[in-house]
């Protein structure tokens, strides 16, 4: 029996060494590539290697909203402050039970209008449409029967007038130049069908007319740790995936899409919680199966500021939702794994998300159980175990800090001494505590997830101060 346990432990040990080498390598490559890419981008910017003139691609901005009465006005005002000329704003109220529509109607003097809609993608029926032409750009408000975020986005696509649409969350604020910057990849390469922008936590930032006038690390611990996490995961890894057209996520908070391609691919899937990821994977599949040359890009200098949860309960809800979305998407497109037809997307991106995102909490649980078993049969070297854990924490903390310091290569962010101290102090806690709490949340996310289908994720909103 002891021999069997020993054999089992050796096997698990071997698998874990491979697992950790894979993860360490991925983090290492993504942080180094991300950091050097940001450095190169800053140099290009200094030497005017950019399309800086007024090349306007018409864009419809779709804001799906459900019970967003607290933030919706500030969001629309931030959109009106964008330094871009050719766009429209479409707010889709997905059956809110609060005053979302009323707030928009009154704040922007909207007219009820009978507008025909070309329903190119199916969605729940319209209840009322309002429009106004009083502002810099046309604003449309669509009130529809509740059908979930994906359904609201599909309605927005149907109502939109322009060939590109941009989806943003109702609790987010776009930086003044974000639209100009997110359309640049389209002008640079006609094969681009979707572009993801950088999403940054706005807790701790002071934004005036779309401009960040002060950006410091948030005062509260939880948002502060999320800033580190965003820098490491969102910035670095997406830059790496962008290098081989392998991004399979564009955040629902900020993404630009070619409308016709999205419609041809079938639009947003209203049966999944991760509609943003599902759409991007669907675009990969659609373009590759139809032998259509395409690019899905990620740009670091187009910035959307979003509120990250300040309470652990809200953060857990958000991550649970993300994990369910990830699971649904991975299951729906399981045939692309290792399939030559999908190239690097199937071999690298899908595999990474499968092992290090979807399965990681279960793998970590297996590791923990194995450690307990080894402890029980006295087959563990405790000092080595502590040393190994220490190396893991220090290594991941160094990577987090490297990603954090890479912000000096971004154009608009500066380093402050107190922020550096906060980052150094919190990166260890983030790696050694928050990460394990999130692993537990993700591990239990799939229990009873089917009951939550088509529901909007609710986190407590703070009023956005948009001056």
């Amino acid at each position: 029996m002891r021999d069997f346990i020993q054999f089992f432990l050796w096997t698990v040990e071997g698998l874990f060494v491979l697992y950790m080498i894979g993860y360490a390598s991925f983090l290492f490559i993504s942080v180094t590539v991300g950091s050097s890419d940001l450095y190169a981008a800053k140099r290009r910017n200094l030497l005017k290697n950019e399309l800086s003139d007024e090349y306007y691609v018409p864009v419809s901005i779709i804001v799906p909203a459900h019970n967003e009465a607290v933030t919706i006005e500030a969001t629309i005002r931030s959109l009106l402050a964008l330094e871009y000329k050719l766009y429209e704003i479409i707010v889709v109220d997905d059956g809110s039970t609060d005053d979302t529509s009323k707030v928009v109607q009154e704040a922007f003097h909207m007219w009820k209008i009978h507008r025909p809609i070309q329903r190119r993608i199916s969605c729940q029926p319209v209840q009322a449409i309002y429009e106004t032409r009083e502002w810099k750009v046309p604003i449309t408000l669509v009130q529809k029967k509740n059908g979930g975020k994906a359904d609201a986005l599909n309605m927005g696509i149907n109502v939109s007038n322009y060939p590109y649409f941009l989806c943003i969350d109702a609790d987010s604020v776009l930086q003044y130049d974000s639209l100009e910057k997110i359309v640049r990849p389209i002008l640079e390469d006609s094969r681009v069908v979707a572009v993801g922008g950088a999403v940054r936590p706005c807790n701790g930032a002071e934004i005036r007319k779309g401009r960040v006038v002060r950006y410091r690390m948030p005062n509260k611990l939880l948002p502060c740790m999320q800033v580190l996490e965003y820098d490491r995961s969102f910035l670095a890894s997406r830059i790496l995936f962008d290098k081989f057209n392998g991004n399979i996520i564009i955040s629902g908070a900020f993404g630009l899409f070619q409308k016709n391609t999205v419609i041809e691919a079938g639009g947003y899937d209203e049966t999944t919680m991760g509609e943003d990821m599902e759409l991007v994977v669907k675009l990969h599949v659609y373009c590759r199966e139809n032998h259509r040359p395409y690019r899905i890009r990620y740009v670091t200098d187009a910035i959307c500021w979003t509120q990250v949860p300040e309470k652990l309960r809200d953060l857990c809800k958000q991550r649970r939702r993300w994990h369910i979305g990830l699971f649904q998407c991975m299951m729906k497109y399981k045939n692309i794994l290792g399939n030559l037809k999908y190239g690097a997307v199937g071999f690298i991106s899908y595999l990474y998300f499968l092992i290090y995102e979807l399965f990681s909490p279960y793998i970590e649980l297996l590791g923990l159980l194995t450690t307990l078993l080894a402890f029980a049969v006295d087959l563990i070297n405790v000092p080595f175990m502590i040393l190994f854990f220490g190396i893991y924490v220090v290594y991941t903390a160094i990577l987090s800090l490297t990603a954090f310091f890479a912000r000096i290569h971004t154009i608009d962010l500066k380093l402050f001494f107190t922020d550096v101290l906060k980052a150094i102090g919190l990166c260890v806690i983030e790696v050694s505590c928050l990460r394990f709490i999130m692993a537990w949340v993700r591990m239990t996310a799939l229990i009873g997830y089917k009951k939550k289908k088509n529901q909007w994720g609710r986190i407590e909103r703070q009023k956005i101060e948009f001056r």
Binding site: V17, I113, H114, R133, I408
Partner: protein, 366 residues
Amino acid sequence: MGSEIFLYGYGIVCISMLIYNILYNFYSRSSNQRLEKHAEKLSKRVQVQLQNGVREGVVALSHQRYMRRKLSKITQLLAFEHFLEEEADPEETRVYLQEMRGVFQQLAEIYRRRESTQAAYFCYFLSHHAKALETKELREKMVSYMEKDSLYCRVHALKALCAFGDPESVVDALLLMERKQGAELHEKVIVEILLIFQGEADLLIKWLWKDMKHFSVRVQRALLDYIRFQSGKYGDEMLAIMENEALDKELRFAAIRYFGKYPDPRAKDTLLSFTRDLDSLKWEFTAISASSLARYEGADVVEALIAAMYSMNWYVRYNAAASLEAHGLSYGQLLEVLQGDDRYARDMLAYQLEVRKMMQERRSSG
């Protein structure tokens, strides 16, 4: 042991990056001061030459050699641009740069061999000071920059050529870009750059017509759009394109849009025939023509647009309704559609009339 090597190796690289980033942070904080220091040094040298130059009409050869050496470094070129933009007198700058044309011809050759980022910045610099620096040799060199791989380099080179204002070299540059695989620019970018052409636009358009057939359909469409934005004098050529069934439909659409912007009685019959055409495969012709007819008068136009309201195609109905609204017809004149059996036509027209009412209310409320 293997995994430890990985960890230590990765850790060392990450710590090196961390240290590099921290040092770079301090370095970049002082970059503005350094730029201003370089600019000040160059400024002193230039001021001496300006004083002498204005008197003697030439810039000293030793100064030209000094500037050639200095400006071949990208940081010095940045500082020089900073000085010209921030501190120098525009008239003095023009006189000085005219005297320095020979230096910039040499620099054009130096930067052409450099990596694309620096070459692009050199083109950017030239596009800002084109009037003073323009020479035939420099124009020829700029055309050769269109062969560089960097998109930004091609964009800035084309901008510089447009700023020089010589139509022949602009067309040469576009042709060179066409011949190079994977060097195409977005149509919108081509149009916007051509719109900054500093020479005589009609002369450029003449050159473009002459070489039109040598361009791909994509670039031809961009050139037709440019012509539409620039001038309404090319009805003959546009009519020939619109009526030529052998041509690519995108070019014919561009011609239809031209006649939407510049109404021409000669185009009316063709536009009407497109609008009346119910062939669903030709819906794009019908939809664009229906839109172009917004500025054409006559009962036959209104009749054709009303007929288009009953099209099966959403875009045809939408454009026809918008054009009918633009004609300013009253409710009574549109009764046939508004009280008809076709709900789609009725809704579309009613919507356009509601928008009109909304706009009128907005105007009346100030």
